[in-house]
Symmetry: C2
Subunit: 308 residues, 2 copies
Amino acid sequence: MGKLLIVGTVAFDAIETPFGKTDKILGGAATFIGLAASYFKADAAIVSVVGEDFPASYLQLFREKGIDISGLEVVQGAKTFFWKGRYQNDLNRRDTLATELNVLADFRPVVPQAYRDADLLMLGNLHPDIQLSVIRQMGKRPKLIVLDTMNYWMNHTWDSLMEVIREIDVIVINDEEARQLSGEYSLVKAATMIGAMGPAYVVIKKGENGALLFHEDRIFFAPALPLEDIFDPTGAGDSFAGGFAGYLAETENISFGNLKNAVIHGSNLASFCVERFGTERLLDLKQKEIDSRLEQFSELTQFDIEMK
Amino acid sequence: MGKLLIVGTVAFDAIETPFGKTDKILGGAATFIGLAASYFKADAAIVSVVGEDFPASYLQLFREKGIDISGLEVVQGAKTFFWKGRYQNDLNRRDTLATELNVLADFRPVVPQAYRDADLLMLGNLHPDIQLSVIRQMGKRPKLIVLDTMNYWMNHTWDSLMEVIREIDVIVINDEEARQLSGEYSLVKAATMIGAMGPAYVVIKKGENGALLFHEDRIFFAPALPLEDIFDPTGAGDSFAGGFAGYLAETENISFGNLKNAVIHGSNLASFCVERFGTERLLDLKQKEIDSRLEQFSELTQFDIEMK
């Protein structure tokens, strides 16, 4: 069992999908990552920031999930980061209706002493300078640093982004982001180009079309589980990252073969996430449900052709 | 080794992609299906129609590939079916620039006596009444009837289409077609709905995002092979169908497990097709290339998680 340090947003989300809408509910990258990772035997901690409007019940929720929140700063007299979005009918596109940075605007993460020797560092989508400052705080170099980022930082903070990308081992981004980051349309070429920027592993998420793992000249693909209904895609990518990182922290094995398994576990957690609004489905998963769905992933993809 | 009867268009295509354009080259659904199937040990025949402008060298090509063309009618004084299309930059959309039905307008297929006992009948995309007339000509019911169709027939000949769909075992269509046919956006729901129309197996092709096989409550997924470059998608779907049907005709095993393998073989042949214009890449594949890429499909998808 390894130590997993998660850095990212803890937020309020307000979500509209064709199936309904929510008031402010629990959201944020670190939240989804942490909840997904909590289903693995890892010593996980979140470094993030919230305002005084953040309910104590949510803090308690993290604790109950065994997630250390000594690095979750609560800023008095300030408000929690808030995002409001609306999904279009096919759920593949969403419009941001509101973004209120609030406490996030001045976020200066401080890594608790007890996690400066974390085995695995999961950097959720944030300003690359903040991601870098976390890497700099680590007392020893984590065995694996995983990074998420987004188009916004490519457009506005390219040099900082390149600096952090040089220092990490695994980048986890979506297809659109991979295309923008590399300037290549072909995802195979994009992964090669991004790998040359630093990370030994490139994971490209394609939403309902699965995820690709690239390492040297090897490629692994995990489909998304075909579901009758997708209710709310919010947090699916972060749940993927959380399952991926949580499994690697539990197994402490960073071989290509085990990273393949981690991609399957990430896809598995993401498949639950999209079944309800926000974090709802990730709050009380049973181990049996997780195992049974893992079996479905196996049935979905494993075949037995006699090779010549 | 089984008998495989293929019914579909043999045509001239003129193709424009961002990478170049062709004059009239060999195309048509039955052509791609037949060429892909020719890499399997099956006794394959094509039933189709061409005009007197169809070059003898193309006829010779089919014969050299071991494809029986006694059912390929050559109509004197008439011209071969012609399609001209242009792909947009991302290759995911294409515009039809010209469609000249020519001999296809009066096509009345006649199944050669020697193939009225075919084990496997592959009905390429055609007017459903023509597809039905072929089924009616079979002396005995084939072990497996596979059908392709398209949106056009859903819009214009719904009742005939329903009649043929009731009589077949496997429908092979793309995601957009599955959604239109079923009225369901979710592909899982769409497959259930389409299965209720008749076919025991529903295959939904998602282009570069792979293919799904549905049977009762079981689902199998095969990714498309991630390629550095896709040159020309024309015929990829038909190459998939040809690899699928060719493998089943060779193995004469229509279990779910073997249909999974057939989906992989179909994806494999399609991965070659898109590497060159039209049929070019399918003309001289080496068995070694096919086997090596099959190995890639295995590495791409197979994992080894210890199930609890």
